[in-house]
């Protein structure tokens, strides 16, 4: 299985910190799987201009192709001005319409306040659904108080991240079994 953990912002540190925690859990629990951490802050991405994702050069081509190759994406997003950051929206714009078909997406979100709890439900999930992702229903929501100096200081966050990863892998395994049964039934 091919897993990508995506930190969907070029600003701030909380999402990156949480994605690093995810990365540690995944590489420890599933050492045999192919794992890539992509922090958008580490890449110089173009804005989407409508071309096929295969035609983007440099960092943009690298990031889009890594995401397209993934079976599982753990997507981390901060909340800026009551929405996902433009950097993450650009990722969606760079990818084709049905880009997330046959991929399982688990979500973690970091925010300055609990008032933003539903932003994922109202703004991120509709985009993922449109792009045909299989979304893990429960996401991990983290706040300012869970972090101190770029570290997670609330033990429960680790438990919740572990459960998110477990749920995401389980969904993926279940999907694989169903898909295989379906394909066998087609007989071609």
């Amino acid at each position: 299985m091919n897993i990508v953990a995506l930190s969907g912002s070029i600003a701030g540190s909380k999402t990156r910190t949480a994605i690093e925690a995810v990365s540690e859990i995944i590489t420890k629990t599933y050492p045999e799987e192919v794992f890539t951490l992509i922090d958008l802050a580490d890449y110089d991405l173009m804005f989407s201009d409508g071309r096929n994702y295969l035609e983007y050069p440099g960092d943009t081509g690298f990031v889009t192709q890594k995401l397209m190759e993934a079976d599982i994406i753990i997507m981390g997003t901060p909340i800026f001005h009551a929405s996902i950051p433009g950097a993450l929206k650009n990722i969606f714009d760079l990818l084709p319409v049905n880009a997330l078909q046959d991929k399982v997406v688990g979500i973690l979100v970091t925010a300055g306040s609990a008032k933003h709890y539903l932003v994922v439900e109202q703004q991120l999930k509709p985009i993922l659904s449109y792009m045909k992702a299989s979304i893990v229903p429960t996401y991990v929501f983290m706040e300012e108080k869970d972090f101190y100096r770029k570290e997670i200081v609330n033990d429960d966050i680790f438990f919740r991240l572990e459960r998110l990863i477990e749920d995401t892998f389980q969904t993926s395994e279940a999907m694989e079994i169903v898909k295989k049964a379906k394909e066998d039934a087609y007989g071609f």
Partner: protein
């Protein structure tokens, strides 16, 4: 429809087309050389002609996994190798070429072929060629509309005065040679949506409608929108040919046809478009209402006739040459087309 060299009383025209892709055969992982691929395309055209197929066309794509970038040169070879089959492009990306040069090329092919050349002009679904050929993809629509319009004007008059944004002005410019019968049939290639078809309707020119999958009835809406728009702009839709294109493959049974064809489409699309073709959608080809003409010979005949009943179109272009489909399989399909499919289509659609 005389301008398009079509005679609807003879029934639905049947053509074959290739995008000119150059992909490995997914069943073996092997890819033939570019030279062999180009020569096999010409061979296919010859076989198609012998089988009585009406039309054969070659596409233009400037990117990896394609080999007919110079599609007009390939068409010239086909023109020389054949005698009666109509030949054309599928499609010519007019946006990134000079319409004068395109017209010169096709008029010349028309003379080589004794009046058999046609242009299907499109906007490109893969846009890597904009950068390669020095154009800005931001001008995607403007480039196509301006250059396509110029191409149509050149077709109407030998001496032309023209000014636009993307090409040097033409002052009393003579565009020669002229085609054998004065004009070339020029079609507008259209994607699946009504919005795109309406633009062909504005200009009152023939439309070639590309389809991938889904229900035939959905594409009927696009054709209706085209005819309605043409009518509102003073053209007679009954005089405007409509063509459709789509996947085609026949085998002894539906299951065998799906089995043989699917990997070519799925793996080929992964390499050229970055995404495979959903198996679920492909499996629906078993239903008569699906636009995908893959199945047993009898089923495919029934589908084509059903589509003709729904669309009332004048030409169907079959795409079986994709994704490294072996030449022998295509030769066998062409034989079936000639002996079984064409007679059935003509029997039921000719007046």
């Amino acid at each position: 429809m005389e301008n398009e060299r079509m005679d609807p009383t003879k029934g639905l025209e049947f053509g074959l087309y290739t995008l000119g892709d150059h992909l490995p055969n997914p069943h073996t992982g092997e890819r033939i050389s570019a030279q062999q691929r180009i020569q096999e395309i010409t061979e296919l055209a010859k076989l198609a002609e012998q089988a009585g197929v009406d039309f054969f066309s070659v596409g233009e794509s400037h990117q990896a996994y394609f080999t007919t970038q110079a599609h007009t040169v390939v068409l010239a070879a086909i023109a020389q190798a054949t005698n009666k089959i109509k030949i054309g492009s599928s499609s010519t990306i007019i946006s990134t070429s000079d319409p004068v040069r395109v017209y010169e090329d096709f008029a010349t092919i028309d003379l080589i072929s004794n009046g058999r050349a046609e242009i299907i002009a499109g906007r490109a679904s893969r846009i890597g060629l904009f950068e390669l050929l020095g154009y800005d993809v931001q001008d995607y629509e403007a480039l196509f509309e301006e250059k396509f319009d110029l191409l149509l004007q050149i077709n109407q008059q030998e001496v032309i005065n023209w000014q636009g944004e993307f090409r040097a002005p033409l002052r009393n410019a003579q565009v020669i040679p002229r085609p054998l019968h004065g004009k070339l049939p020029i079609w507008r290639a259209v994607g699946g949506t009504p919005a795109s078809a309406i633009k062909a309707g504005y200009a009152g020119i023939p439309m070639m409608l590309a389809t991938l999958g889904g229900a035939a009835s959905v594409f009927k809406r696009t054709i209706d929108a085209y005819r309605e728009t043409a009518k509102n702009h003073g053209f007679d839709p009954t005089q405007l040919p409509v063509g459709t294109t789509g996947f085609f493959y026949v085998a002894d049974t539906t299951q065998a046809a799906l089995q043989q064809m699917y990997p070519h489409i799925n793996e080929g699309m992964k390499l050229t478009n970055g995404q495979g073709f959903p198996k679920q959608l492909f499996a629906q080809a078993k239903d008569k209402r699906s636009i995908i003409n893959v199945g047993s010979t009898q089923e495919v005949i029934e589908k084509i006739l059903y589509q003709h009943e729904v669309f009332g179109h004048q030409r169907y272009l079959a795409q079986m040459d994709f994704g490294g489909m072996p030449f022998d399989n295509m030769a066998k399909n062409i034989e079936i087309i000639g002996t079984e499919i064409l007679p059935a289509i003509r029997k039921y659609t000719a007046k």
